[in-house]
Amino acid sequence: MTTVATNATDRPLARVSRTARAMLRPAELYLLFLVLLIVAGPWVAPFSAYDFNASASLLGPSWVHPFGTDEFGRDILSRVLVGARPTLLPAFAAATLGIAAGTVTGLVCGLFGGRVDELIMRSMDILLSFPALILAMLIVTMMGSSIVNLVLAMSLIFWPRSARLIRSAALEIGKREFIEACRARGESLGFILFREMLPNLRSVVIIDLALRSSYAILLSASLAYLGMGAQTPTPAWGLMVKEGQQFIQFAPWLTVFPCLVVAVIATGTVLIGESVRQRFAISTRLAR
């Protein structure tokens, strides 16, 4: 099993030539693109995403405004570029937070097994009895629409789903001799969970994060569309669609371009998640 861990560590980092080659892979290029969009989006936006311009209201796509303008004369392209942050950051934050919680929960279940495992997993099942979007809507409505509450609600969606996955892999690790040896040595709980078990589950956690992130973007975009989280005038993509929808008959570009951007980014993330899954699944299988 240690071979899996070493294999996973030296994959991207060990040799420069390999890193160089990895940089050219579509997954890395795509991630670089997302990071650039989040970091530099607001800088490269040609117009302000917030300032009204009455003389340019509801203009169709043109060279000056490639995605057109909205009813207040704001440039849609600029709003889309600025909107990457309020759309993608909550999604990634929620996926990370939810998977961190799920990993800890899964590891604890895997280590202790028995009653502890049973009790925790049954509680997770209750969270799983709600369709994801419905539970998130309820929580955000009751706690108030803010980005922080949105992230908390979404991470609560990912927590049980991730816990279940990590647990199924951790149960097997928890029974291994080296864990028993740790206990006999009197290692602390934290050491056993995070220094002994976690490295062996690294590929599972990475796969989970990759696949969960793409769903997080979908969820974030859907919740924003329902008016949860970011509020007007923030140009979160879902919110832009919601607000532009009333003009769909005579100014469809208000809806079409934010929709296209959501679709492209979300589909791209699904593909990346798949490729990460395949790559790590193969490395795990070969090492065994």
Binding site: S129, P131, T141, G144, L226, A263
Partner: protein, 315 residues
């Protein structure tokens, strides 16, 4: 263990989990920071207004007492009173639930056979152009939020081509079947979303089954290929697909919220969005409960179906 006992036990598990679902819903509404009175009045309310509303809603009583009262009312079919319409929530929900259930049922009837067919074809013709087209399309649809599909379909079919109505102006209680044309776009969009999961699962499990020794034996025995696929492989590939259908039901119910709102369809999802916007907490609570119950029922049916199909699960 006999089958009926297993099914009874599974139903008991569902009933217990529904109790906890109700408990959790109540706790989210009543215990999380940000209480009901503030949620109803909005962030601009003065403390006096909040205190007055808390009193009139009975929120100054202990939480446990309130939960018990709420839960026993619920058992008697009393979902409370809507704050915006000042009417009992139960009858408000009933008519809309029927509409949503009909819509969901039509979608399932459309989706299940079509996706199983496509999934099976993709598996049998694995690696072919057709397989790649099907797999590519499902991956593409998988990454789409429902509203992108819905608005796209509306733009193309209702606004540009003007083939179909873009909004379903159906009153609660009115028969859906008087307005069949308004159902086409919602059904199309929900089906496209739901089909992706089922196609992918059918394809994956069908590929596994086709590679199994008994399929090879059947082929070597000289049984025609189509017969092996239909009679030997497909029924066995159905098992993981069934579980997936049960799970995709949850995604379908979540999708209803968005799609009903876009197409102005008088169902439970649209009611839930309206309740969120008007901060009508009793209605919101009831919608969440009903949708969660429908979800549990979906996975119950999927579990029972797989028990019936697979004798191994009966132990």
């Amino acid at each position: 263990m006999p089958l009926w006992l297993l099914i009874t036990r599974r139903i008991a598990v569902m009933v217990i989990s529904l109790f906890f679902v109700a408990l959790l819903t109540f706790l989210i509404v009543n215990v999380l920071p940000g209480d009901v009175a503030t949620a109803i009045l909005g962030d601009t309310a003065t403390p006096d207004q909040v205190a007055a509303l808390r009193g009139s809603l009975g929120l100054d009583q202990p939480v446990l007492l309130r939960f018990m009262k709420w839960f026993f009312d619920l058992l008697q079919g009393d979902f409370g009173t809507s704050l915006t319409f000042n009417r009992p929530v139960g009858p408000m929900i009933a008519g809309r639930l029927l509409n949503s259930a009909t819509l969901a049922l039509i979608c399932m009837i459309v989706v299940i056979p079509v996706s199983i067919l496509f999934g099976a074809i993709a598996a049998v013709k694995q690696g072919s152009l057709l397989d790649r087209a099907i797999t590519g399309l499902t991956t593409f649809l998988f990454g789409m939020p429902e509203y992108v599909l819905a608005l796209g379909a509306m733009l193309i079919f209702a606004i540009w081509l003007q083939w179909l109505p873009g909004a379903a102006m159906i009153n609660p209680g009115e028969s859906l079947f008087l307005h069949l044309d308004t159902l086409v776009l919602p059904v199309l969009v929900i089906s496209l979303g739901g089909a992706t999961y089922i196609i992918q699962m059918t394809r994956a499990s069908m590929i596994d089954v086709l590679a199994s020794p008994y399929v090879r034996t059947a082929l070597l025995k000289g049984i025609p290929r189509w017969q092996v696929i239909l009679k030997h492989a497909l029924p066995n590939a159905m098992l993981p697909t069934l579980v997936e259908i049960g799970l995709s039901f949850g995604a379908l119910l979540g999708g209803l919220v968005i799609i009903e709102t876009i197409f102005n369809f008088a169902g439970i999802g649209q009611l839930m969005v309206m309740a969120v916007q008007s901060r009508d907490v009793p209605v919101l609570q009831a919608c969440v409960l009903v949708i969660a119950a429908a979800y549990s029922l979906g996975s119950l049916l999927a579990d029972i179906a797989s028990m019936l199909l697979n004798p191994k699960l009966r132990n």
